[in-house]
């Protein structure tokens, strides 16, 4: 048992240090001709990655080497206790281990915060969906991702130079903002394109500005008419106006709109006194 754990400890470690391109994987496969060792190293992968998923291991390139060795120790210690994980993933183990390891690395580097069952699922999906030839290119893309601060997943067949990447990020930001606006502006549906949504937003802003104008006109009318309605004495009028407005403030406060601090400074001249 000690021999086994020692061997399996050594095997995955050089692999993880190298960039997991196809060439290094073939080297790794050649190093371990015996399928038994391969199976066990894959087993270590499967216990290894669930442990490391919750840390954002793959986003910190600097400490990658040391932390990986630390985790390998952990996985070795807990390899016995991680049997249920292994049994649940026996089907995964039957697939060629090169691809499996590659898939786990790819998906975990992309989703460093996803939970362990998702890792194997995405791995299987990726394997079923993409061919091996294309994967090398998108694989390099994945490996570049952790170095940048923004995590954007490159889909298969998309251009991978920095300009289009920045363009994609920018478009993503704009779409996100549009989605927020969609929630705020009534009458925006998800199915509408950007042009229609912008039209709706423009209409809404215009209508709001018109409403402000209209309401200020109404206020003017109300205050002018109000002035006429009251008695001729200007001072009394002003006092009553101030009292009315203070009452209005209190009403608004009761509805929970105005804070106590804000009201206190306004109430300096009122007859209510300190609240």
């Amino acid at each position: 048992m000690a021999d086994f754990s020692e061997q399996s400890y050594r095997q995955p470690f050089p692999f993880l240090d190298i960039d997991p391109t196809m060439e290094s994987l073939t080297q790794f496969a050649e190093l371990n001709p015996q399928s038994f060792i391969l199976d066990n190293s894959a087993f270590n992968f499967q216990t290894f990655f669930p442990l490391s998923i919750n840390d954002s291991l793959f986003s910190n390139q600097a400490s990658q080497g040391e932390t990986m060795s630390g985790f390998i120790h952990n996985s070795n210690q807990s390899s016995v206790s991680a049997q249920p994980i292994f049994s649940a993933k026996t089907e995964v183990e039957e697939i060629s281990n090169k691809r499996k390891a590659l898939d786990i690395l790819e998906s975990s580097s992309g989703n460093s915060s996803s939970s362990s069952p998702q890792v194997s699922e995405t791995g299987i999906k990726r394997r079923n969906n993409s061919g091996r030839g294309k994967r090398a290119k998108s694989n390099e893309k994945e490996m570049e991702k952790p170095k940048e601060l923004v995590h954007v997943r490159a889909r298969r067949g998309q251009a991978t130079d920095s300009h289009s990447l920045a363009e994609r990020v920018r478009r993503g930001k704009i779409n996100e903002r549009l989605r927020c606006l969609q929630d705020i502006v009534p009458g925006c549906y998800k199915t509408m394109g950007m042009a229609l949504m912008l039209d709706e937003i423009i209409n809404y802003v215009q209508s709001l500005q018109n409403q402000v104008e209209f309401l200020s006109m109404k206020l003017t009318a109300a205050s002018t008419y109000y002035d006429f309605n009251s008695e001729s004495d200007a001072m009394e009028r002003m006092q009553r106006r101030k009292a009315e407005e203070a009452k209005e403030l209190e009403r608004l406060m009761r509805e929970g709109y105005v804070g106590i601090g804000g009201v206190a400074c306004f109430h300096s001249s009122s007859t209510y006194g300190p609240l």
Binding site: R177, I202, L219, T220, D227, F228, Y257, G259
Partner: protein, 164 residues
């Protein structure tokens, strides 16, 4: 009695409360300065403009300089104050048109949407100098402030009508 149970944040610093206090203060000032004796249309119109400006100003001051649009609005008010009636409008439009022209020349992608983003830029104060991403952000905040403004003003108007 210190914290009202309905409010989650610090009650005295919500946008709505700041706007209300400022706007009502401005309204009382307008009412005080302008004792209505004659209902001449010019006087009424002047009053309307003052109330409108007071409303927008109170909102801009409540937001302070935290947003591009509020900063633009505040600088507009300040330039207005220094330059009186004749020069006011010309200064504003020349600024808008020159900046608009340069931005149109520099635009690359999103061909068909340029018209709409330009329209949006005209609506949102200070929108001429923003890129699309910031413009959408500012629009969202501007809409939020406008709705607050409308809500408060409506309440005040209702109150004025009710109290008669």
């Amino acid at each position: 009695m210190m914290n009202t149970p309905q409010q989650v944040k610090n009650p005295s610093s919500s946008l709505k409360s700041r706007f209300i206090t400022r706007f009502l203060g401005a309204l009382t000032k307008i009412n005080a300065e302008d004792p209505i004796s004659s209902p001449s249309p010019t006087r009424i119109f002047q009053r309307y403009r003052r109330i409108k400006v007071a409303s927008n100003k109170s909102m801009a001051y409540s937001v302070r300089s935290r947003r591009i649009w509020s900063r633009a609005m505040l600088s507009r008010f300040r330039s207005r104050r220094s330059a009186f009636s004749g020069r006011r409008s010309s200064v504003k439009t020349t600024n808008c048109t020159t900046i608009n022209v340069t931005i149109n020349e520099n635009k690359t992608a999103k061909g068909g949407l340029d018209m709409q983003t330009d329209e949006l830029r005209e609506l949102v104060p200070g929108g001429e100098a923003m890129d699309v991403c910031n413009l959408l952000d500012e629009t969202a905040h501007y809409i939020k402030c406008l709705t607050t403004q409308v809500q408060v003003m409506r309440k005040i108007v209702d109150f004025c009508h009710l109290s008669k």
